[in-house]
């Protein structure tokens, strides 16, 4: 599976940050926290760290939840970008149909499926 950054994930986050001020503020604070962690532990900025080092920083920030909700918001926004991408859909087998014309007919329902239930007798209460 491709990385989120390879299928437009970063551009999506930038677009979201541009139109959603609270998300932008959280993202900026979160990136600062990641960078601070990286410099403290790995002696280099987050952007210059290895993937494993970046993952450690993410895990630390997620565990400390400072800034609150940052990793969850980032994770959800990345999922929002990644799994709305038709390239990814092909890889996971998701089929998206659209437009004003019918693309399939429905399988018929076999009434025999409810034969047992039909025989349960009245389950509702009669009233006056």
């Amino acid at each position: 599976m491709p990385a989120a950054s390879a299928v437009g994930g970063v551009a999506y986050l930038e677009g979201l940050a541009a139109r959603d001020a609270p998300f932008r503020a959280l993202l900026v604070d979160g990136l600062r926290a990641l960078d601070a962690r990286s410099r403290e532990v790995w002696r280099r900025g987050f952007a210059d760290s290895t993937t494993a080092q970046q993952a450690e920083c993410m895990g630390h920030v997620e565990k400390s939840d400072a800034p609150a909700g940052f990793v969850a918001a980032l994770r959800d926004a990345v999922y929002e970008a990644y799994y709305a991408n038709p390239e990814v859909w092909k890889l996971i087998g998701y089929r998206f149909r659209s437009g004003p014309r019918r693309t399939a007919t429905l399988d018929p329902f076999d009434p025999q499926r409810v034969a047992r239930v039909r025989g349960m007798g009245r389950l509702y209460r009669e009233t006056t």
Partner: protein, 531 residues
């Protein structure tokens, strides 16, 4: 020379307003409907976009007006232990534009909760009073389903056959069959075949995000074309400020802001409020006058009280077997095994179990009880969940309580300066016991069906069905409208929508809203000379 007042002015073009307008206009009444929003073009539906799932949380098509903030929306503030999740659509078709189309009817016992179980209130109408209007409403919009359900009274032939169960539905049926419990194909306001010039469903799912096929019966594609052809007038971008009262205590029209923000008055012999269980009490409370200082039709103080919203739990199962990897129409079947009261369960009244499938891959990744983790295990876990999950929602009957209510927010106003509604809500002890029982039952089904894991966030959500806030009843001291949806205090004022429900039952309300609207229209027409 001043124009003659309209015979009837209807406020709100949603489920109730559309049906009532059509019924009256088709009989010859001069009807004007005022709608604060606009038509929604099918090509603009979020369902047509690849980012449709993002609209669950953000964007101008999202379900909550508080997040959407479109010009036609008004803010809704919340208070209390469990603020209701606010969902509605303000436009032609109302929330039927975004609903899922579940179309069950109330049970006969739902109209007699107090008489049978000593709780809630009895409706001043019975199932029998509404039955022919249920049938008429079904025929007008087209319902898919199957006759013969032993949990419900016999009903007329459904217009189209049931929606298919799909592989995930078949798996859950296995569970219900193993337990020997009730289940039945749902009545859905979704055509499984072509009907009345509309195209049948192709099971592409995403119904909540708008149906470009018009297989889903939103009233902008069902009632409104017929109502307009019958001569009804629909004014969009008309935001009602208040209902005006004449010196004799009768209403004489409606004051509204037009699209340019200019105040206008539409004079009327009869006014019908169809603004949903939040918007209706808001408007009645905002319509204060010398004769009605506490709000219109609120002499008993019942307007805004007894809010019910169908609290819910959602339990999801993961299965080893592969299910569909595309979205499917939401609710193929339901169970009412625990619908009628059995006091041995520790609570009164009951609930429905409803099968649900994920919206799409983003929703699966977000997770309901827990997100798919980021990092090295992500794709492995996503493969385990995507195309392998199905869930059961518990829809509990919410009992009417004074403490759950809609009031006017003292500080927050909409863009036109009209006070926002403030919603206060908490789930009762009875409701919580019912939900816990329902969650355990759902888990039992999923396990019997062979789920390899059952996921349960424990979170109490709700179905955002707003009911009870201008309820019907025979006693003017405890209710707002009578059996014909006519205000006790104001003879030419009617309220028809979820707010007029005396109790909530444990089923989706829209088919009953439609039936009440058609019946109220007939009542107005038959007594038109009184107005």
């Amino acid at each position: 020379m001043r124009a003659e007042p309209a015979d009837v002015v209807v406020i709100g073009a949603g489920a109730a307003g559309a049906a009532l307008t059509w019924r009256l206009a088709s009989q010859g009444a001069r009807v004007v409907c005022l709608e604060q929003g606009d038509w929604h073009r099918p090509g603009a539906f979020a369902s047509e976009r690849t980012d449709f799932e993002a609209q669950l949380r953000r964007g101008n098509e999202t379900f909550s007006p508080n997040d959407r903030k479109r010009p036609e929306d008004y803010p809704i503030t919340t208070a209390g232990d469990g603020p209701a999740f606010m969902v509605m659509w303000n436009g032609v078709g109302g929330s039927t534009v975004h609903w899922e189309g579940h179309f069950p009817r109330l049970h006969p016992s739902d109209f007699r909760a107090h008489q049978l179980d000593g709780v809630g209130a009895d409706w001043p109408v019975s199932y029998g009073d509404l039955e022919r209007y249920y049938d008429l409403n079904d025929a007008n919009i087209g319902v898919s389903g199957l006759m013969g359900d032993p949990a419900n009274p016999p009903r007329s032939s459904r217009q189209t056959p049931p929606l298919p169960l799909g592989r995930s539905g078949e798996a859950l049926v296995r569970g219900f069959e193993k337990l020997g419990w009730h289940w039945w194909p749902s009545d859905n306001a979704i055509l499984s075949r072509d009907y009345a010039g509309r195209t049948g469903c192709d099971n592409r799912g995403r119904c909540n995000f708008g149906c470009p096929l018009q297989a889903k019966a939103s009233t902008d594609v069902t009632y409104w074309p017929r109502a307009l052809a019958s001569g009804a007038v629909l004014r969009t971008w008309a935001r009602v400020k208040e209902i005006s009262v004449a010196g004799d205590g009768r209403v004489d029209g409606v004051v509204y802001f037009d699209r340019k923000g200019t105040l206008q008055k539409e004079r009327a012999k009869v006014v019908v409020v169809c603004c949903n269980g939040i918007g209706t009490p808001r408007l009645l409370l905002a319509s204060r006058s010398r004769l009605f200082p506490d709000g219109l039709a609120n002499g008993a103080g019942a307007v805004g009280k007894n809010l019910m919203n169908h609290p819910s739990r959602y339990i999801e199962g993961l299965f080893a077997e592969p299910f569909e990897t595309e979205t499917f129409t939401g609710n193929p079947f339901f169970s009412q095994q625990f619908y009628e009261t059995d006091k041995g369960r520790g609570f009164v009244r009951g609930y429905s179990l409803m099968v649900y499938r994920p919206f799409g891959p983003v929703s699966v990744a977000w997770g309901d009880s827990a997100p798919v983790p980021w990092g090295t295990s992500h794709h492995r876990e996503m493969r385990r969940r995507f195309g392998h999950s199905v869930g059961i929602a518990v829809m509990a009957e919410d009992l009417p309580e004074d403490v759950n209510r809609v009031e006017l927010d003292p500080a927050v106003k909409d863009g036109s300066g009209i006070p926002a509604p403030r919603v206060t809500y908490r789930a009762s002890e009875n409701t919580r016991k019912m939900l816990a029982h329902g969650a355990a039952a759902a888990r039992q089904v999923l396990e019997a069906a062979g789920a390899i894991e059952v996921m349960d966030s424990g979170r109490v959500a709700n179905f955002a069905h707003y009911m009870g806030t201008a309820r019907m009843g025979n006693d003017p001291r405890t209710s707002v409208v009578n059996a014909w949806n006519q205000a006790h205090e104001v003879p030419n004022l009617f309220v028809v929508d979820g707010s007029s429900f005396a109790t909530s039952a444990a089923v989706n309300p829209t088919s009953t809203i439609g039936a009440l609207a058609l019946r109220a229209a007939d009542g107005i027409w038959e007594r038109r000379r009184e107005f």
